[in-house]
């Protein structure tokens, strides 16, 4: 029962990481941009869901949909205003801009909500008992959603024209236009999808942990970034895989040794792992023909 419970824990934590990591990977895969504002958009989604649920008494599904749409629009807007002018600039300039946007979002939300908030429960608290271990409806939902979104995204990116265009943009943006592809629109779709996913993560997270604060995007955002890279950044399936691996590592370490060693051991394992697979699980080194 103990082990089963921990396995469920791994699945839940991994799914939460995964939902955010997907957004990172998505935007990275296309724009070669580590969107460090992603964690904060996730946070914004959490607060939005709080506002909708607490003040306007929206039920779950509308809340989720509105959050997705609004945050996706924010993502697109941020891309238009802050990243697009930097299309010709070095890659890091955009990364730094993203960091700046992230800091701005955090502190902006902080102006209005300096106190942590309690998000109303929108999902019925049903729990099942499996041989002493408990699993809730919410957990099942989160896990299912993570896997579903991963498969959907994978389908979009690898098997549709838009996905193909996205991958082509990541290689050579100018030439994509010469193929008759509206580059700006594809980039907007990418950001909409990526941040929309972050919004899903934000809403589900707020339901799972109920307490939200303006800084929650940072910690979990960095962790999700790590997941995306372990999986091979830019790779959709890799993101989910990386998320479950990081979650498993963190929880297993706690299981077998004092939890004070959790970070040391997890991150050392990570370094060792990268020494053998320098480009993550499913990542490939950029093909470069000399």
């Amino acid at each position: 029962m103990y082990v089963i419970q921990q396995l469920i824990n791994i699945l839940q934590l991994g799914s939460i990481y995964g939902l955010i990591a997907l957004g990172y990977t998505m935007v990275y895969g296309i724009m070669r941009l580590i969107n460090f504002a992603h964690g904060d958009l996730f946070m914004v989604a959490g607060f939005l869901s709080f506002i909708l649920a607490a003040y306007f008494k929206f039920p779950f599904l509308p809340t989720l949909l509105i959050c997705m749409v609004v945050v996706a629009m924010m993502g697109v807007l941020i891309e238009r205003l802050a990243y697009k002018p930097l299309r010709k600039a070095p890659r890091v300039s955009v990364v730094i801009t993203a960091l700046g946007i992230g800091l701005f979002l955090e502190n902006f939300v902080l102006l209005f909500y300096p106190y942590p908030q309690n998000v109303p429960t929108l999902i019925p608290r049903i729990t099942w008992n499996i041989g002493g271990a408990t699993i809730s409806y919410l957990q099942v939902l989160i896990i299912g959603l993570a896997l579903f979104l991963m498969l959907t995204l994978d389908l979009i990116v690898n098997h549709t024209m838009v996905g193909m265009a996205m991958r082509a943009i990541s290689w050579n943006r100018v030439v994509v236009g010469l193929m008759g592809v509206p580059v700006d629109r594809v980039i907007s779709i990418t950001f909409a999808l990526g941040t929309g996913l972050g919004a899903v993560a934000g809403v589900m997270y707020s339901q799972a942990f109920s307490v939200i604060d303006p800084y929650m995007g940072i910690v979990i955002g960095w962790q999700a970034f790590i997941c995306a890279v372990i999986g091979g950044i830019g790779n959709i399936r890799g993101a989910i895989l990386g998320a479950y691996i990081l979650a498993a590592a963190q929880i297993l370490v706690v299981m077998v040794m004092p939890s004070t060693y959790r970070d040391v051991v997890t991150f050392t394992l990570l370094l060792v792992f990268l020494a053998f697979r320098p480009y993550g699980i499913l990542g490939k080194p950029a093909v470069e023909k000399v």
Partner: protein, 353 residues
């Protein structure tokens, strides 16, 4: 001495062109600045020319210059994206503080403090191997992850060692960091990093940023270069950490979290990558601006990131952007073509030699 024999091609910004025409008498100005600065660094605390608060900020500026310039070696000159500077800083801070607290006698700190600072730097440089070795195999965002993981590891290791205070940190560190010391270390660090950047090794680092494959095929020992760049960069992060600890008089693992790395990162890119002068400006402007905007209270933290974003949009390469302040470039470097021409004229005149 503009040489325009070629036609048709002009360069938009040629970073060398910017210090073309620089002459030897810059040297004089530099010396004057140094001497006056050093004298002031003694006089200010002695005669309280400015108040303690401003003195503290000046010292932060100095320490931040060291941090920024050293991170610029890896992030700007080598073109990597390291997120682990706070980790190296932590190592420097801990090593130096433990030495001044428990090993060195506190009586002759004038002699021992620099030793402790150097030891802090060396400690950080040694540990930087952990990051340098994976960098032989991978780069870019994967290396960013490695450095990020490294920060977590450093923090967590310190938290787990009760003997060095664990999460409670180290208290009661002597306030050995003074204005003259900060001035001295800042000048020394900038000078050494400048020398490195304009040496054979520095050019090797630059070539890595431009094209790693080509640079190996042009005989650059990339492993050596990466190793040196990481070691030097972390050494000075360690030095800055040591100075920081002896200014704060208290350190704990939380002081060196990712947000510290992010701060330094922002200063580097604000000032401009691949430019020591940029680092000096970036660190100064960022640190001073944060203080100047203090009266805005909460809005300060909303305004600062916005300013940064605007700056990035209008100057994507930072304030200096690959260019260098003229007086930071070694005179020798500026005169290569001129000297060579003169020599050639002489040689052509007497072919016997």
């Amino acid at each position: 001495m503009k040489t325009d024999e070629k036609s048709g091609v002009q360069s938009p910004i040629s970073y060398l062109r910017d210090h073309r025409g620089a002459t030897g008498n810059n040297k004089l100005i530099v010396w004057i600045v140094l001497i006056v600065g050093f004298a002031l660094s003694f006089a200010i605390p002695q005669f309280n020319i400015v108040n303690g608060y401003i003195q503290t900020i000046i010292m932060y500026v100095g320490i931040n210059i060291i941090l920024t310039a050293s991170l610029n070696i890896v992030n700007g000159y080598m073109g990597e994206f390291s997120l682990g500077h706070a980790g190296f800083m932590a190592i420097g801070a801990y090593v130096a503080s433990l030495l001044t607290l428990h090993v060195f006698p506190s009586s002759s700190s004038f002699f021992f403090f620099p030793l402790a600072v150097i030891a802090g730097g060396l400690g950080a440089a040694l540990v930087s191997l952990i990051v340098a070795i994976p960098s032989f195999k991978t780069r870019g965002d994967y290396l960013a992850l490695i450095t990020l993981a490294f920060t977590y590891i450093v923090k967590s290791v310190i938290e787990n060692i009760a003997a060095i205070g664990g999460p409670r940190g180290i208290v009661g560190i002597d306030k050995l960091t003074t204005l003259p010391w900060v001035f001295f270390w800042t000048v020394l660090s900038v000078w050494i990093m400048r020398n490195f950047v304009y040496s054979n090794f520095g050019r090797g680092v630059l070539s890595l940023r431009e094209d790693e494959v080509a640079s190996r095929l042009m005989s650059v020992n990339t492993q050596q270069v990466k190793f040196l760049a990481f070691a030097l960069s972390s050494f000075f992060a360690g030095v800055a950490g040591a100075l920081f600890a002896h200014l704060l008089q208290y350190i704990n693992p939380n002081v060196f979290d990712i947000s510290k790395s992010v701060d330094v990162l922002l200063m580097v890119y604000l000032g401009g990558i691949g430019s020591i002068g940029g680092s000096i400006l970036g660190a100064t402007i960022y640190t001073v601006l944060l203080e100047v905007l203090r009266p805005l209270g909460m809005f300060r933290m909303v305004l600062m990131p916005l300013l940064l974003v605007f700056l990035m949009i209008y100057r994507p390469r930072g304030i200096m952007g690959l260019r260098e302040l003229r007086w930071l470039v070694p005179g020798q470097e500026l005169k290569i073509v001129k000297r060579w021409r003169r020599k050639k004229v002489v040689n052509d005149a007497n072919p016997a030699s």
